[in-house]
């Protein structure tokens, strides 16, 4: 066997393995997608599978989604609201803090930065219950403030902005000072415009997390008209009435916004997820 034949043999095997892996990874999405055209009662009875029985497939679930009596779209827009507030608030506050860490040397900086790293390694679940008690004593339960406020200065986002800003030369800030800009003016007029890629990556990451957030909202939100989509979908798991039809088509639609964003801004998704991975 010649060397080039062996080489192309490896290439074929590699492409085969990765295509197979892609198919396996895509399979659950495909199964969900075709299930959205099957009656909800089928799902309850038969589970999810690859069957394509065209005679039993129809658009009823989609019709139910767009014209039925249910709260789906309210949850959907609640999630949009929550995601927008979270992203804007987190980017504003966390970039501000990240700049403080990157651009200045001050007393206590080392200690505070260790705190950032420490918080990164504490599971939220550890503080979840006492935090809930505190939020409740402030009479903030059942509000979006309760969901968003504790995480505006978000440790991993601060860390990302700080790393990004370290690459910006301090002479730029010095030049700003000579031109008579204030410390805050330097940040907003000179630095923020340079941070566009960092903002995009963090907007995507925080947006995705906010859209998919479940546990903390489950604790603090009470009324079903304030539910984000994740909580709302979960109430449909009870197999009564049309719930399963709505659950499955609603799940498909809950993935679509993120999926479209992913197709459009793939680079930022991956950059956001990769934050900190190479440097550790």
């Amino acid at each position: 066997m010649s060397r080039s034949m062996k080489k192309s043999g490896i290439t074929v095997v590699f492409y085969f393995i990765f295509t197979l892996l892609a198919a396996v990874i895509f399979l659950p999405i495909w199964v969900l997608f075709i299930a959205s055209f099957k009656p909800g009662s089928d799902l309850l009875q038969y589970g999810l599978n690859l069957d394509l029985n065209v005679s039993r497939m129809n658009l009823d679930n989609y019709i139910l989604l767009f014209s039925g009596q249910h709260e789906y779209w309210r949850w959907f827009f609640n999630s949009i609201t929550l995601t927008v507030i979270t992203v804007l608030g987190t980017l504003l506050i966390s970039s501000f803090v990240g700049y403080g860490f990157a651009a200045y040397d001050f007393k206590g900086k080392k200690f505070l930065f260790i705190l950032v790293l420490l918080i990164l390694s504490i599971p939220l679940e550890v503080v979840m219950l006492p935090l809930y008690k505190q939020i409740s004593s402030w009479r903030l339960l059942d509000s979006y403030t309760a969901i968003v406020l504790p995480f505006l200065a978000h440790a991993s986002t601060i860390f990302f902005f700080r790393q990004y800003l370290l690459s910006i030369p301090r002479s730029l800030m010095e030049a700003g000072r000579i031109d008579g800009a204030t410390e805050y003016g330097i940040f907003y007029r000179l630095i923020v415009p340079l941070m566009k890629p960092a903002f995009s990556a963090m907007a995507i990451l925080n947006g995705m997390n906010a859209w998919n957030n479940y546990l903390w909202p489950l604790l603090v939100i009470r009324s079903s008209d304030k539910y984000p989509l994740t909580l709302g979908l979960n109430t449909l798991i009870n197999p009564y009435g049309d719930n399963y039809s709505l659950l499955i088509v609603g799940s498909v639609f809950s993935v679509i916004p993120i999926f479209l964003l992913f197709v459009a801004f793939q680079k930022y998704f991956i950059e956001g997820m990769m934050a900190g991975a190479v440097k550790g």
Binding site: L21, Y99, P123, A153, M273
Partner: protein
């Protein structure tokens, strides 16, 4: 006043201020309260000393939860580190050129919420003969299995869900790490006649270590604090014989479902301790401390 606020000495503290407030209000105070609550019986509103902790030591269900979480963490570490590293190395090799499509597809599961992903897997592991995994068994002539009723089969379902969601992300982590290794190292090795496998063991694995340590750290954290995946797969926090109960599941059961807040806070602090200890051991074993010193 305004001048003070705008001075170069004060400005850094203004920038840092939101973080300091967050740490105090939303981390330090809750952790201290958690410690205080763990010494109380909140329902009876009295101090009970170490009672909650001594009860935990003999609590068989907590021990089961602890064991389940450890088992899950170990399983995810064994599956979600070596295989993604291998896939990333293959994607990074010279034998394969067009990788963008694969990278995108592998990332898709990470876009789904745990509610959607968990629901899909619960229904694919349904009990009827027509659910996907029983259909697959049917091809090999095996009769349908009640996947989510048995300890072993449901553990398999949990691991498969974790692999589905995170294999792609970990591949991308390792790919980023591998791409930062200078290519001339591999060239020199092939001139010396090293095989692909030898290059993987002698160059890729050691040089990608910072990434491995990072992935290890977040996987330990995520594995030990897993809760929602099990909650979705078993349609709630009560799995048959507690086969799906995790540390956080137990914390939730005690703190939210039974309103025994003091006991739940003790569970939370044990979780914190366990995560810290496992990660310290991991950082010690991988030698990250020594490298961090220089």
């Amino acid at each position: 006043m305004k001048k003070f606020f705008y001075s170069k000495k004060i400005a850094p503290y203004v920038f840092i201020c939101p973080f300091v407030i967050t740490v105090l209000l939303f981390w330090l105070v809750p952790i201290c309260n958690g410690v205080l609550l763990s010494f109380q019986d909140v329902l009876k509103n009295k101090w009970v000393g170490f009672d909650n902790y001594s009860r935990l030591l003999t609590d068989k269900i907590f021990r089961k939860a602890l064991w389940n979480s450890f088992k899950y963490m170990t399983g995810t570490l064994l599956l979600l580190i070596p295989f993604p590293l291998l896939f990333a190395t293959m994607l990074n090799s010279r034998w394969i050129k067009k990788t963008e499509f694969f990278k995108s597809v592998y990332f898709i599961p990470a876009l789904t919420s745990v509610v959607v992903a968990g629901t899909i897997f619960r229904l694919m592991f349904g009990e009827s003969a027509t659910s996907l995994f029983n259909q697959i068994l049917g091809i090999f002539g095996v009769s349908p299995v009640k996947w989510l009723k048995g300890a072993g089969t449901s553990f398999f379902a949990l691991l498969l869900l974790a692999c589905w969601r995170w294999t792609g992300v970990n591949v991308l982590y390792f790919l980023a790490g591998l791409q930062s290794i200078p290519t001339d190292l591999y060239e020199a090795a092939s001139i010396d006649g090293a095989s692909g496998w030898q290059q993987f063991i002698k160059i890729s694995v050691p040089l990608v270590k910072p990434t491995t340590v990072y992935v290890l750290t977040i996987s330990i954290y995520a594995g030990l604090s897993m809760f929602l995946e099990s909650n979705m797969l078993f349609k709630g926090n009560n799995s048959p014989n507690n086969i799906g109960l995790t540390i956080v599941g137990y914390l939730y059961r005690q703190g939210v479902e039974k309103r025994a807040l003091g006991y739940a806070c003790a569970v939370g602090l044990i979780l914190l301790l366990v995560v810290m200890i496992v990660n310290l051991i991991q950082l010690k074993v991988t030698g990250t401390f020594e490298e961090g010193r220089d």
